[in-house]
């Protein structure tokens, strides 16, 4: 099984990081695929909660979006959004939340709103959706970024949609986040991790053939590198077979 695509690499890497996690909030795209793979490999008891209110989904097909009605058929529960946002998410029932972003900073703050000037932006992005709530209320956050570049990993966000706990502390004047914020960033180059409120993202692992210098060059700040930088094991034959043949045979997310 050579020719692993970047999407496959990301899905496999994210799935492995889900070991021992229990309740995961997954947005559409690669997170859904990663959680499905984790269910079949490292974390059989893992449960996905979707923003659309579905919990305990057992889709016969890979869902095409988080609001795919086929997620409901055969699911264990579907809650209204008030219940989902107030009782499940704000109620601290989520161990890991997946988020994407256009920009990330060294403490794991995320921008999914605006590139450029606020009043007349260069690019108007989708905005928060539930990201602000996921960041504030999940135990920890995993971020999957398809492309690791200095335009994405930035010294300063153009707009801070979902703040890191450190930024929330600095801002004060409101409820502080329940969780740790971003603890894992999984990219096509490797994995960055952080834990405490003042910890910066640190490069802890690289994919085979990637160097720390390569990652530092693709990062807009002076990225720390772990002393014991690891090399990630490439996707196994089993993982790739599950992804390609069972979970996403039509390559909806493995594009």
């Amino acid at each position: 099984m050579t020719d692993t695509t970047s999407s496959e690499l990301l899905a496999v890497t994210a799935a492995r990081e889900l070991a021992r996690r229990r309740v995961v909030f997954a947005g559409h795209g690669l997170p859904t695929l990663a959680v499905s793979l984790a269910q079949r490999t490292v974390s059989p008891e893992i449960e996905i909660v979707y923003e659309s209110g579905v919990t305990g989904a057992h889709p016969v097909d890979l869902p095409q979006s988080i609001a795919d009605s086929m997620l409901v058929t055969g699911a264990e529960c579907v809650l209204g959004m008030p219940q989902l946002f107030s009782y499940v998410l704000q109620g601290r029932r989520i161990d890991v939340g997946f988020l994407g972003a256009a920009q990330i900073d060294r403490y794991g703050g995320l921008n999914s709103s605006i590139i450029g000037d606020w009043a007349k932006p260069k690019a108007r992005l989708p905005g928060s959706g539930g990201a602000i709530e996921v960041m504030a209320n999940a135990g920890e956050i995993f971020v999957v970024m398809r492309r690791h570049t200095a335009r994405t990993f930035v010294e300063e966000l153009d707009f801070c949609t979902s703040p890191s706990p450190r930024r929330a502390r600095e801002a004060g004047g409101g409820v502080q986040p329940h969780g740790k914020g971003v603890t894992r960033v999984i990219t096509d180059l490797g994995i960055m991790a952080r834990d405490g409120i003042d910890d910066e993202l640190e490069l802890v692992a690289v994919h085979p053939g990637v160097t720390a210098e390569q990652v530092r060059a693709a990062t807009g700040w002076d990225l720390k590198v772990a002393d014991d930088l690891a090399e990630l094991a490439p996707p196994s034959g089993d993982e790739l077979r599950l992804l390609r043949e069972e979970l996403d045979p039509n390559r909806i997310y493995l594009r």
């Binding site: 559409h28 795209g29 923003e51 659309s52 209110g53 579905v54 095409q64 979006s65 988080i66 609001a67 795919d68 009605s69 086929m70 997620l71 409901v72 058929t73 055969g74 579907v78 209204g80 959004m81 008030p82 946002f85 107030s86 998410l89 704000q90 703050g109 709103s113 606020w118 007349k120 932006p121 260069k122 690019a123 108007r124 992005l125 989708p126 905005g127 928060s128 959706g129 539930g130 602000i132 709530e133 504030a136 209320n137 707009f159 801070c160 949609t161 979902s162 703040p163 890191s164 930024r167 929330a168 502390r169 600095e170 801002a171 004060g172 004047g173 409101g174 409820v175 502080q176 329940h178």
Partner: protein
């Protein structure tokens, strides 16, 4: 002896939707009131403040048709299918004119509708500390927890002049039943001044009354019931039809070209009489792809006294 509230889509919109109002149209990727939005375009309503959590093709269409001057929302992408280019032109280039955008997170919008439904002035929420959204939107304020927990952000209640939702079915009096992903359908209905519900079908009272827990909005809240099959397309309706992913993806492509988008609206919306006409305009056999098979729920026993 309940009132019969069924109206045609055109009648319902004429009666309840006026230029300049705040109109909420909700449905979270499911039960989206698309047909109602099309009718607003046909009637040439203008100056609306549109409240809708999730931007999607419906929003792009209402913007391109010139119906909307202000948007209240928490997500303005087109699901996983790409961008809303008309919306982006309005915001990024003020083309053809600027769009006022009052922005929240999903949690904030949900809380706003719930507060509106409950006629509370505001709802507290554990979000927003450290987010730039607070600087962008002065409507996000805070209060001091009188139990000693410090400051907490609040969002103001949202009470639309008109709330429009889609659902699977209702009786003629307006008891609305829905299943699958329910989004904020219940909250936005209770929050609305006038409430219009489009449904796949109107059913006999007996059907509704065989399962009262399935009713998400009781009749006394509803002003108009509109029979409108396939009224949520390209969103799905649980048990009725599938999501039209191809349409969503094509929209993102089409909307890159402002002229092409407007031509599409002229042909498929303004150029059709009603929603049946819209569906027909998509072409022969178009719907085949969206048909689904039946999977029934196990009935539950409500019981009756001997």
């Amino acid at each position: 002896m309940p009132t019969d509230k069924t109206l045609s889509l055109a009648e319902a919109m004429t009666r309840y939707v006026r230029d300049g109002q705040t109109v909420a149209m909700e449905g979270f990727g499911h039960l989206v009131p698309t047909a109602a939005a099309h009718e607003i375009i046909r009637q040439g309503v203008t100056g609306l403040t549109l409240a809708r959590m999730t931007g999607d093709t419906l929003v792009d269409q209402l913007l391109a048709a010139g119906c909307v001057t202000k948007l209240i929302s928490s997500f303005v992408g087109n699901s996983s299918a790409g961008s809303l280019h008309e919306l982006r032109r309005r915001i990024e280039h003020h083309d053809p004119e600027p769009l006022e955008f009052e922005e929240y997170s999903h949690g904030g919008m949900v809380a706003r509708y719930a507060a509106g439904a409950a006629k509370l002035p505001f709802a507290p929420i554990r979000s927003y500390t450290g987010s730039d959204l607070v600087a962008l939107n002065p409507q996000i304020k805070s209060v001091t927890d009188p139990y000693g927990g410090g400051e907490i952000h609040v969002v103001p209640a949202l009470n639309p002049d008109v709330s429009i939702i889609h659902a699977q079915r209702a009786d003629r009096a307006g008891n609305v039943q829905a299943w699958g992903m329910l989004g904020v359908q219940q909250e936005v209905a209770f929050a609305g001044g006038s409430v219009i519900v489009t449904v796949e079908e109107v059913v006999d009272d007996d059907v509704v009354r065989s399962d009262p827990n399935r009713t998400i909005v009781p009749s006394h809240v509803v002003d108009a019931v509109v029979v409108c099959p396939r009224g949520a397309h390209p969103a799905p309706v649980q048990g009725y039809y599938d999501r039209d992913d191809r349409f969503q993806r094509e929209w993102s492509e089409r909307a890159r070209d402002a002229a092409a988008l407007r031509a599409w609206i002229d042909r498929h919306i303004r150029g059709t009489e009603d929603h049946a006409g819209f569906i027909a305009s998509l072409g022969e056999g178009y719907w085949d792809r969206l048909e689904i098979d039946e999977q029934l729920s196990t009935p539950v026993d409500y019981g009756r006294r001997r």
